[in-house]
Symmetry: C2
Subunit: 441 residues, 2 copies
């Protein structure tokens, strides 16, 4: 008998790499890494552990990876909805950010958002916001994986006044967290319409020098594309391609309004795509043609966007919305089947972030980033195919247990690293301040 | 001090008839009817009751009305997904129905589905299936409101062999339940492609004689429309209009693929429309233009369709999907705002069923059909606008308490009229039989 750190038995394990769920299997975990996956009865013969957990009516899936967030915006959730984009930004979101966003705000709001993410089975997120250290400190405390974008834009915020300052502050953050096992920096020039060519060129140099991924909002709306054509006679994808930015190290977020010229560039250059179906629907932005991009061999990942335009960070719901929207827009119910939706939110998201050798599937030698989901509820019975129940019927509160690198962050619905009542108190405290400043209609 | 049956205090009450939530108000309930709505402190001065319940961090909304279901199909949830419609029907759903649907199946599956509906805040549903008495008996036991369709079609099932038998059995059911306070019959000719002209004419006569609503699937897919044009040289709406069926007493379900000719008929005849966004997306059926229909003055209600094509009966999620889809397809984020989504699932659904004088809003003299939703959770904080949290952030497990006609069917997440473990056992029992018969891939 070999002694190991943890044994986790589950009724079903969806590895994300094979079609058929493993039934009554166990995961053997040593130092945060999956050491073996084998039938439960065999595991009991070969391994012993002081930590043996059994999930007799649960499915175990890889930790969900939210590939596009602005997590600190959780404090603005529901501040203003059902508004035209520029009205929403000009009269609600930007004034609120201008007045309130600070180191303290971002730290508190990030912890609050991480509580939501862990409770929904998210083990990793790819963020773009301000006060990067505040988000990183929160992620360090929460135990979640975090990819934190070095935001750069041409206009000043409370975080930085110039592109040089954005970059300087960003690189300070990058250096401080260079060796953190879970927290990574990315470069995040905000969008084509907020970043100048020279800044893009500078960012590309930094990306090459430090081997950093670049992620940006790209082709979010028709207006963005039309404005670019009017101003520089090029569609945004063409402009960025000419600047050398469209590469397999780019994470291009949203990607609606793609014409044949755009698709030809994408097919050749193979950037990673992040689809945000709920935000795109709620803001009426447009539709990313995920089936077409997938067929062209591009890696398509999934994200929620910020909670101000979603209004949650729930990847379970996002997978369902992605499947629904893809079927509708291709007029084919076979498009984006349940297992493909799960792959987008796990392995594809890991690939986009360049961490698919570490996580993104339940595989031997990968980290134990795991989520247990209770299927034995009225709403997810009967279970003919666990993965159908996961995508089309399960709800976030059925996520019972979550691990990152073998550390349990949610245990029978209780957060182990975060103080839930305190986070709720803080959310109410901030909302009272924010709501009293006259931004609400 | 006046003594009354019940006093229910809530932090927020959304009546569905006014824009602004009532804060810290109470509902005074006598014999299942809302007798008064007034500020909590005033209620404490004027009324006393042996049953006083307080919901200090909840919102109270009108009971949700699911305007299109096939509830007994809950036992087929997840049996087959991600398939083209005719493959799905021919190789999975119809064979499964042919083999399994019986009085016992429908009774068990209906009780099971009612448990889900009550847990999701649904107090009334409009069903179309077979073995009507079985569904009615289940509804009688569960305490939920039920509108049960007298299904009629030209081909035989285990329920009836001929249209005459469908009608005969349906009218027997109608007569047996004619005086039930919560259970009503409707006429449900299945769809234009399964019902002949002569049968439609007969159904219209019965509807007029007994003052019954007619509900049917109409314009669910482009194929349906094209087939009708090929076979009878008329689009289905035109055909039914010529037969005299398109009236304010019609409940037309799905209604995608509407052209100007269709819209002109609808504008003149004003039938009720039931939008089923999730089923329409999952089956890639098409989009019902709800904003256009609403502007034309038609009453647009909301339904989930059966759980085999959704895969839940959750009206909270359906409202969110309806809002998302309407914004996307009109390219306008102002379309179908949160309060309109709620109206579709409450007052509009009640109007479609002809029961808006009894229920559909929290109003004096209407029935106490109520749902309490806990907003004090990580995922629905902060609360700037309760109705935004309801539509865009709340999840079904936040439904804590449900009343129909003043009777509490869900009390702090516990079903009071149904035996949850027994229903889960029965679902597993049936699924084992169904799953072992080779319908699953």
């Amino acid at each position: 008998m070999e002694h190991v750190d943890q044994l986790i038995h589950a009724k079903w394990i969806i590895t994300s790499e094979q079609d058929t769920p493993l039934e009554n299997h166990a995961l053997v975990i040593q130092q945060g890494i999956i050491k073996a996956i084998l039938p439960s009865d065999m595991a009991a013969e070969h391994y012993e552990s002081n930590v043996v957990q059994r999930y007799p009516s649960h499915m175990m899936i890889p930790g969900l990876i939210n590939c596009h967030t602005h997590i600190a915006m959780n404090y603005f959730r529901g501040l203003a909805d059902d508004l035209a984009l520029m009205n929403w930004l000009n009269h609600y979101i930007w004034p609120a950010e201008k007045k309130w966003v600070s180191q303290e705000f971002v730290y508190d709001a990030s912890l609050f958002a991480m509580a939501e993410m862990i409770r929904c089975g998210t083990t990793c997120f790819n963020d773009m916001y301000f006060f990067l250290q505040a988000t990183a400190e929160a992620a360090d405390q929460a135990g979640i994986r975090a990819h934190i974008g070095i935001t750069v834009m041409e206009f000043p915020t409370r975080w930085a006044a110039t592109t040089d300052e954005y970059i300087k502050r960003g690189l300070d953050f990058y250096e401080a967290y260079q060796n953190h096992p879970r927290i990574k920096a990315t470069l995040a020039p905000h969008a084509p319409y907020t970043v100048a060519d020279q800044t893009f060129i500078k960012i590309k140099e930094i990306a090459d020098r430090h081997q950093l991924k670049i992620n940006l909002h790209l082709h979010e709306t028709a207006d963005e594309v039309n404005q670019s054509v009017a101003e520089v006679k090029k569609r945004p994808i063409k402009r960025l391609h000419d600047l050398g930015l469209i590469t397999p190290d780019l994470i291009a977020i949203h990607m609606t309004e793609l014409n044949d010229e755009d698709l030809a560039i994408l097919e050749k250059t193979k950037p990673n795509i992040v689809h945000c179906p709920e935000s795109n629907m709620k803001l009426a932005s447009g539709v990313c043609p995920v089936a077409t991009l997938d067929k062209m061999g591009l890696n398509v990942a999934l994200g929620t966007d910020g909670a101000a335009s979603n209004n949650d960070l729930n990847m379970l719901g996002e997978m369902r919305s992605a499947a629904f929207l893809a079927k509708l827009t291709t007029k084919n119910p076979e498009t984006l089947a349940a297992k493909q939706a799960l792959a987008m939110a796990t392995l594809h998201s890991a690939k986009a972030l360049g961490i698919d050798s570490l996580t993104g599937s339940i595989s031997v030698d990968k980290a134990a980033d795991l989520v247990a989901i209770q299927l034995d509820e009225i709403e997810t019975l009967p279970v003919y195919h666990p993965i159908s129940q996961l995508i089309y019927a399960a709800s976030r509160h059925q996520v019972t247990d979550v691990w990152v690198m073998g550390k349990q962050l949610l245990k029978n619905r209780k957060l182990t690293t975060l103080d839930e009542p305190m986070l709720m108190d803080k959310a109410r405290y901030w909302a009272k301040k924010i709501g009293s400043t006259g931004f609400t209609p």
